[in-house]
Symmetry: D2
Subunit: 376 residues, 4 copies
Amino acid sequence: MSHNIFGHLFRVTTWGESHGPALGCVIDGCPPGLPLTPEDIQVWLDRRRPGQGKFVTQRQEPDAVRILSGVFEDDRTGGPVTTGTPISLMIENVDQRSKDYSEIAQAFRPGHADYAYFAKYGVRDYRGGGRASARETAARVAAGAVARKVLGPGVAIRAALVQIGPDAVDRGRWDWAEVERNGFWCPDPATVEVWERRLEAVRKAGSSIGAVIEVEATGVPAGWGAPIYGKLDAELASALMSINAAKGVEIGEGFASAALSGEENADEMRPGADGPLFLSNHAGGVLGGISTGQSVVARVAFKPTSSILAPRRSINEAGEAIEVRTKGRHDPCVGIRAAPVVEAMVACVLADAFLRHRGQVGDKVAAASNARAIDD
Amino acid sequence: MSHNIFGHLFRVTTWGESHGPALGCVIDGCPPGLPLTPEDIQVWLDRRRPGQGKFVTQRQEPDAVRILSGVFEDDRTGGPVTTGTPISLMIENVDQRSKDYSEIAQAFRPGHADYAYFAKYGVRDYRGGGRASARETAARVAAGAVARKVLGPGVAIRAALVQIGPDAVDRGRWDWAEVERNGFWCPDPATVEVWERRLEAVRKAGSSIGAVIEVEATGVPAGWGAPIYGKLDAELASALMSINAAKGVEIGEGFASAALSGEENADEMRPGADGPLFLSNHAGGVLGGISTGQSVVARVAFKPTSSILAPRRSINEAGEAIEVRTKGRHDPCVGIRAAPVVEAMVACVLADAFLRHRGQVGDKVAAASNARAIDD
Amino acid sequence: MSHNIFGHLFRVTTWGESHGPALGCVIDGCPPGLPLTPEDIQVWLDRRRPGQGKFVTQRQEPDAVRILSGVFEDDRTGGPVTTGTPISLMIENVDQRSKDYSEIAQAFRPGHADYAYFAKYGVRDYRGGGRASARETAARVAAGAVARKVLGPGVAIRAALVQIGPDAVDRGRWDWAEVERNGFWCPDPATVEVWERRLEAVRKAGSSIGAVIEVEATGVPAGWGAPIYGKLDAELASALMSINAAKGVEIGEGFASAALSGEENADEMRPGADGPLFLSNHAGGVLGGISTGQSVVARVAFKPTSSILAPRRSINEAGEAIEVRTKGRHDPCVGIRAAPVVEAMVACVLADAFLRHRGQVGDKVAAASNARAIDD
Amino acid sequence: MSHNIFGHLFRVTTWGESHGPALGCVIDGCPPGLPLTPEDIQVWLDRRRPGQGKFVTQRQEPDAVRILSGVFEDDRTGGPVTTGTPISLMIENVDQRSKDYSEIAQAFRPGHADYAYFAKYGVRDYRGGGRASARETAARVAAGAVARKVLGPGVAIRAALVQIGPDAVDRGRWDWAEVERNGFWCPDPATVEVWERRLEAVRKAGSSIGAVIEVEATGVPAGWGAPIYGKLDAELASALMSINAAKGVEIGEGFASAALSGEENADEMRPGADGPLFLSNHAGGVLGGISTGQSVVARVAFKPTSSILAPRRSINEAGEAIEVRTKGRHDPCVGIRAAPVVEAMVACVLADAFLRHRGQVGDKVAAASNARAIDD
């Protein structure tokens, strides 16, 4: 990961500001021959799209994606497939309303990247947070859609909100199907109402609130990840921490593992049909930086939206004391819209890990190694 | 970060197994002209060295570092300075006792990387965990010593244990001086005794326990970090998660920020002498992936040591059910010895961020940008 | 350089096919605060544009560039400047005429990348060579325009054709002003007529011909380049060899140096006003992979255009013997239009080397080191 | 390629100075399970070793390589195999004679990297050229030996000198077996005597002379190389140009292709047993940056050794005019000893290209794609 590019063999470059003409990404190194249409990408973008509920920003962006390169009709099927060359995806910005931001052109909003960008670059696009806007995450979601194609149907990645403010879901009531039914990606039907009440209060107060997202990838075979510094969990940590407003990442038991004993924590194994049968998954599917074949599980903490109506003390570019109230259209809880982004980043990391693993050991060795654990 | 190399301009490659002849690192891209002697590095290695207390492994390794390249006498001072070429550092393994590990040659120890390495590579150096051993972290500490030279005395990095098992320090009694006085890197004198009792019990039970480390870097100027995917916090997350046994990383308020309101979380600013004066540091010194000039604060969760005497169910390379008891010399709490490693990784990330920032904006622009925030 | 991305700190990703809707590039890591308008880029694209003479392809492309991100109004001057975030540039394809290529959809044209792409990816965009088309070089030229902004007016880069087919220029008549006067980038007025006659004959024969381009960068200070594997000449070699149809690269005396004696080849030095005064430049401005302060000089050999009307034996995707005649609109000598591309690649390499050098040693050290050579 | 690291998946970091205690390399990303002993590497180092003839330096270095990591006994064969973790190789310097160099501590030798290193870094290890010494190439040769293991016996790489000074071999008499019989890697027995006479004269005159090496890799399947900027020929150009004293690189017909017509240059194809049968190889086995299945052919030009006894005008660190005569032990023609280095660099580039190609398309797709060209 460096600057605006991440990945090693499956490499994603994103570009674009909140209020520029467009944003997009270029995916380099994608395997050839994968069927890919704009609709394959649009379905994921639509899940991230703003303007879909009263607790998300009212900015209306169709987020219609165009594929500008890297796809061509397959001479056998006639359908569009990836060609192995760079896939350029573009999403035009439509509903920008730049005038909303004129007030804050000289102000550093507390909790935002305003001051940091100014200190680094000496110039910044202040409209809607510019490059630091969550709109950039649309490009990640688009890339993630392609990454899912690389991973194939065997690997499933899904995220759920597990906490908003102080209210966590009851894991005993966890139901993945429920996640698709409510606007909060909440796996626990009983918690939905609690969150609604809290968010209503937060919205009325002109305030905002944080959240925690859990993501799970099933079907990841053992062997992905490249120790020591390209460990699968290290790459996930980096990818997830790079999402706007993320402040913490944990794998498997995460911070709770500090309080466990060695007996509790170390997942026992028994012989299984095609590899070890793990009796628990405190590790979150990663040991020594390499996938074990169990589900890969991670959680990301998101801070409250920094754009709030409540007045806050700050300074402006001239260094003068000011007071800031951020009007405009903002999500009271950025975590709610981050679930598709979290999924997309996990998809990209896994696609890259898959290709790198295949590069180092080859299809056959990989298959053989996996099998050997129980067949030898 | 890829495989065994991390960093972009300040680039560290590490190598070596627990029971091979030696381990080491190569640092590429180090600025020239920095005074550097083996002693400058040894002092940090000595802090990480095993065999220094009853709650750490009894393996006795002098960890004497040799500088094999990249340093030459300065023609003005006559003392050794970095030349800008690769700095190769080597530490010989002395106290290996490979026989301790013969029993586990075919076994996959639960919670270890044994199975994952085997599944990935089809072959593994099982002695002491091979490449996955915490001995590898000596190379990180050596690199971190050089990174501190790059950062200069203005940037101070120090870590403390804030939790062992369920017992957290009382932050009201925090005293950095205390960290150097006890064997636990504990900043709270009253907690030392609590931890001692717990560790004694853990050791007697043949068990192990997890921990949380907090690290703080002061003196980091505003502007370091390269959004979007090379964000300073994303790089820290990756670097810290890559440490053996790490399961979670958080920046500033971290997971606790999920429960905060926007007003609580967004650090207010007032005009200060040379830049903004922040009234709080929930952000942990990073906004939008760029340092703000506040202290950079992170925490890392470590799982309990997986090598425990208590018998655990597992399988072997032949896929048969076995029971594993890990004898040998092991730390009951790997977190205790991880503090210098955490510091070293933060130092390396910051040194790299510094050089990259300087590359993109130059000394003068950087200085000017920082100043402009209040002077314009 | 990897796949479709090159550079380290000044990083360029290009995308697009000859007959897709558009092509473009994303420049990551550009220093902030550089004035940049579409016109700054267009002027260079216009130099590369096809349809400007009878010896270049008749395809008519306006090559109008759009800046989609990374530029914003400076709050002091009001003019657009780079912000330090990714600069996305897009050029729409207008005059594609895909029907011209239907005949060769299944054919592998000799000398083209057709077969190689098919063998690698199993699928290919055959229209106009797809990704392998020289149209891709428009994106390079656009990136080069930004690179020139990074380098500033002190570094001048200019290319000239020095050979077409067997006919080389007479270096005794070299006149840089002449390069801008004829359609061949020819620095020797007397050779223009020779080349015209040869190209006329080549065109009539439905054939094509190769060429050699020389490029010179003046104003490059001593110290750029990163030995051992990121040597300035190695990076130039890679960048120039990556241009379509390039088959050879040489620095300074190049292949002719094989026949020199050590006395002839080693450029002698005398004390100069601000550094050494070199008495010759056989080295082409690079020693040990680092710039010396002399002009950086390189040459690139281009093979003849592979798209020719003359029939050639080949095979098709089904492996059957066929005969291929490439109709369509093609340059009889691709070298003629490559001069702006060569300049652009040199600009990108130098901009990247500049930023990396500044990152490692800093503005002040760099300045001091340069000065010290004579002032101490 | 960046600084002292090259390659993407098969990644080589080298370190060490001519007169430091040792030099070496770390190979990261090597596939696991490859048998590897020190002898496998030593055989290639012995071919590069100095002190083996009267026309090479008299410095006596055994160049004994140690494998410090990354290799372990295979549990099936008991022999040492690569484990997929970093392979650290070290060669100790034995015959350094640092006193030889005291005279030049303050001098910039014309044609050397002395001044350039000083201008870049402000400090340099002047002993024997420090990092810029050709001794560094021993590490490349060691890495190349491992790369050959990755490529397997199907890919054969061999180099020959084709020109010393103005004297080129007669290609009509080319005999690869002859290359192993004389001390010049000369494929033409009749030319050996010519070169001997010339080198004797050069040596007596205290002068030196340049050379050209040709390298050929057979058995490279179609599909390796990653366009656009990671083209196989671009990577070869970079790798070969990074060798000490290299000034030019060409692929296939190279600079001569400028004088060819399109009909001559474009290699015709006929149906073959397993892919196209090419009727010529002007392309040097690479089209569009991708291997075609033909032999990969490149040539590298080496300038004359800059260390000569003949006095040359120069300046010193103080900027004063001086005269330099380079005593010490030097090769009159560095090209002679570069043949094993050229082979090694080609091996490393190909191994990396192989792994990257496998990563992107997989074993099966690669195989299928290759076959499809004729089977469909």
